[in-house]
Symmetry: D2
Subunit: 358 residues, 4 copies
């Protein structure tokens, strides 16, 4: 508990970094979605390790297999199960941490909570688990496509280098044009240089992924507790290494006055719109039809190629040395994960919203 | 859907700002909690309007009545229902917005989602609904008290005025010593002056509430999706006017390097601790026993005492004028709400954690 | 946990027999239902004690008050809360069972589970709690009325006296024509005579309530675990004193052969129908458009006006004597409860079914 | 929705009869259960087709593979995923029902609900799905074993042949001694003869599975709606072909008087017990420590080796002919399924009960 996410489009992920397989079941997948397998694989590949010099050099093909829920190319409304078998399992890499607690990892807390843990590659707490989310998110994206909803995530900050352009000024067709996934090419170059430098130092660095959702109908989101942004926030905070979430004006909004923050309504082409969008497309927890946009802060990856003081499960002080192949900065590979979680959240609210009126 | 919050300690709130009553049921309230009614009323009073010159002058006594679930002063394990009757209902104040959509309020989205809305005082989207949360949160606090957990929220920023002291440098016994609820008295004075000035201008301003949770056992939080901070974040983002949430290093963490961000483990008095706490007391989504701390950003209150352009539900352009009695800044009254939501989240995880092992 | 029922139309009931009030919240009540208050009161009155010589002589007016969720006569989509205040609380009647465990009541199990119990009138385990279900069920019925669904429950058996007529042979307009609520008037007279005789003996007797649901669309019910009949069964088994549930051919079906049990499909007026209906309107857990029908078995009421051997919470043997005012047979008053639970189950599946396809 | 079962020990099953695989995930599996793989396979084999002359002659090895959640022979508290690959897929057998609706099958209702269906072997509505439940149930049984709880299901009736012995008079070590799984050997012989005769006629027949649960602690079950028997009933009614559920006195109880039905409490060896057990081990929805026992009625299998009138999805009348390899009577193979569902229900309540008191 709880490895499940969603209310009506409900996924359960399973699997450890070095176990037999990772996977996901989707219970409540609507019937009739055309399953474009190439698209799903494309999304998996975006998240996959070994993509570039600024990601981990681990080679995992991340090929998925669908076990159920599809017939003649379409979803049937029965559970869709997807499995990604683990192949590149270098379990020996991790024998040194069988007893030791790596700093700022989940080793200690898992051991204390469960009384047992699969320490190989971080086990269940490995970011490898997000492969299953991306697979399920790709299905949600295919459903949203039929509904006219588009989701664009991108790296807006790496360390202290950030784009100064708003989401409205960016051209999202450029996001995939560089290995850091920043649609502001000049800034992207600086980010790449920084990450590469940090990598060479055996260190890691944090960053921010921003995301824009376009084309949502008015009415998504369930007040009071399941506000659209509350669930989006929970979805993002459920991604490994995330430390913060803000939408619309975000933390800057705390400094503003009501007279400058309020979004005035207008009528354009017979449609109610807002002249500004500090609300981030959400009012009272419900989508108002404007762009939904938010930022997700990621801490630096905890595994560094340096010796660190720590303790082991016998209560002895130890030195933990970084081994294995790890990402110097998580945000480029986090882009498809943010999109996947956003897609599932939006689709779930779309389905929930159908029961609002008889 | 969904006016419920929590998994095992599950509350459902109900009620509109100008209806007959607000209230809450707690399903899954553990048996045997000693119910200190004075304490619950004390918490209600902290949230109550009309406390000071920097809060709304609306007078609502916010007296609660318990309808069920208590016997001879203790909870019985059956649902605890609490009701707060509405008394100060000036419905006439709101006739002017029966058809108009107030900027940055939930009027438009409610109308579109439900096809009907109780426009009086914001109806269900009024922050008055949080009175019910504070009542339920007070019960959770009483349970946590028996478990040795303490929760301290406070105003750390109002507009651009903020305390520079960390939560470890603050004396929380000072929080209630001033009307803005900032435990840094000099900064509190500046905040009060700012809010009062903004109020006189008929404007409003945002702010940040910070919160520290002390004394949680190791092991609370459910990976993968229901990480402790993901649920805390959702709880906070479910509070009216919240735009962002960060815990531990938060958005600052995005700029840091792994070598400076990692919290090294140590043994002190035979106990595993971390030398630093940029993790914010949570690792891998699970509490590690250190202080849990986080920030919650609130936007400026949308109701201002000025004329604003807007539209009505017939698609006509209108001018909306601020009327009624509203808060110039929401953060002082948000302090007990943040604590209530945090208390319920922690208690819920405490109960969930019991099923981790046979 | 769990005083909640339903997935999307989700109710939570609260209240003890001799506490301040009973009540219910409906979270997920669709917006736009016209709330006919007279109808709701009519349903409450059908369940109310003191209706006739064969029900308890306790006088409880069972008047409900709506606290929220309604505006200008219609539901708003926000939680609808209803309260029934307790007025006829003769708590002294129950002092004799403060420590003793009444045979076949919930006294012992509540005490062991919770470590505390409100013993007055059975506290939470009193059938009085079902008043709240009937109130919520009446709202569901009003929604179903708009959808063309009708629900007819009736007493088909009291003790060993039963109607031999099938539901298709009965005229449901006669159900309310007699105090036992059996639409077979001659059999009704025999049932009334039996129950009255049993009552005079200070004893009680069981019975069966049957129910037919007409007009459900094809497609309600969620395979695999939440089959329409699985949820209906759980709803019925959740009513106090119920010992069994069967639908369609039921337990008789266990004796039959496939060649006689199968319902052959036919086309009538261009519509797919079944020639017979041993399936009870449900195939593979999903409604097929035919009448849904089922039986619910109730045990005799546990409180009898005789001395019975028992033990108390100190482990001493005691004699428990029947006191208070109790029903000699529960089934006449159970009829509106069965209908209420069925109505909420069907409405919930109707709402869930909307998310089956995009 | 909903292919999930349970609250804290929550399973999701997936897979179609002729798809790639069937399987199950367990979210909330407690850490530290010793996983006896031979025991799990043993349970699978009890449900497997092709066991004897009175079951289907289909050959499916039903070998399971664990994909996650286990480390060094023990559960880790992370999701346990199990897969059973389909091998004996004779999809051609089913081409004749691609468009036709088999009588009393789920073909018509699935088609109408989802607008699409995998018709091969019944797709998701095939009883083959229960293999996944048996796998998960075996894990629950291993957990219950550590807690001292035993579950014994058996065939008590096939057609109109039934054992007259109560569960207390039977020797459960005999259940597996015959192919019909009736622990009353003489009656078992009669049952076998009847089923074999029915099979030769190309027909099928129903039956009853009874079940006894021994060793449950006092306090399991959650009033009001999630009474122990309400959830057990839902679990059983969720099994394919089930038409009824009764526990304790069941439908017979409807004929009884309170004076004969009440179970008087007694003290034996300092422990509270009941002298009789018509309550079926459950009072007020909560286990009282006595044996829990119940009956589950199964209809005759719908697939018979005869021609039957039906319609197809184009609205044309057709004749459906029985093909393939099917069970003449489902109850022998249903025994391990009933036990699996009971085991998961009891374990779930055991975990839930931990949160009743702080």
């Amino acid at each position: 508990m709880s490895n499940s996410f969603g209310s009506l489009f409900k996924i359960t992920t399973f699997g450890e970094s070095h176990g037999r397989a990772l996977g996901v079941t989707i219970d409540g997948c609507p019937a009739g979605i055309e399953l474009d397998l190439n698209f799903i694989q494309h999304e998996m590949t975006r998240r996959m390790p070994g993509q570039s010099k600024i990601t981990t050099q681990r080679k995992e093909p991340d090929v998925f297999e669908i076990l159920s829920g599809v017939f003649e190319g379409k979803t049937t409304g029965t559970p869709l199960a997807m499995v990604i078998y683990n192949t590149d399992q270098k379990s020996k890499d991790y024998s040194h941490i069988a007893d030791s607690y790596r700093p700022s990892h989940a080793d200690y807390t898992y051991q204390e909570k469960y009384g047992i843990r699969d320490y190989r590659g971080g086990g269940r707490s490995s970011a490898r688990e997000t492969a299953a989310r991306v697979a399920a998110g790709a299905v949600a994206k295919l459903a949203l496509k039929q509904l006219g909803v588009e989701i664009h995530a991108y790296v807006s900050q790496a360390g202290d280098i950030k784009t100064t352009k708003s989401h409205e000024e960016l051209d999202f067709s450029l996001t995939e044009s560089n290995i850091v996934r920043c649609p502001d090419p000049e800034v992207a170059d600086q980010m790449i240089a920084l990450i590469d430098e940090v990598r060479k130092q055996g260190d890691t660095i944090g960053g921010i992924v921003s995301c824009v959702i376009k084309g949502t109908p008015v009415g998504l989101g369930e007040p009071v507790f399941d506000k659209l942004h509350a669930r989006l926030g929970a979805a993002m905070l459920g991604i490994n290494a995330v430390k913060g979430f803000e939408y619309g004006s975000g933390f800057e909004g705390a400094k503003m006055r009501g007279s400058e923050h309020n979004d005035h309504f207008d009528i354009v082409d017979g449609k109610v719109v807002t002249k500004t969008n500090l609300s981030g497309g959400i009012q009272g927890g419900i989508s108002n039809g404007a762009d939904i946009y938010f930022n997700v802060a990621f801490k630096p990856v905890a595994t560094i190629m340096r010796d660190q003081d720590s303790v082991d499960k016998h209560g002895e002080k130890v030195t933990v040395s970084g081994k294995g192949r790890h990402d110097p900065c998580v945000v480029p590979r986090a882009v498809p994960i943010v999109e996947a979680m956003a897609a599932m959240t939006i689709l779930d609210f779309y389905l929930l919203n159908k029961s609002t009126q008889l």
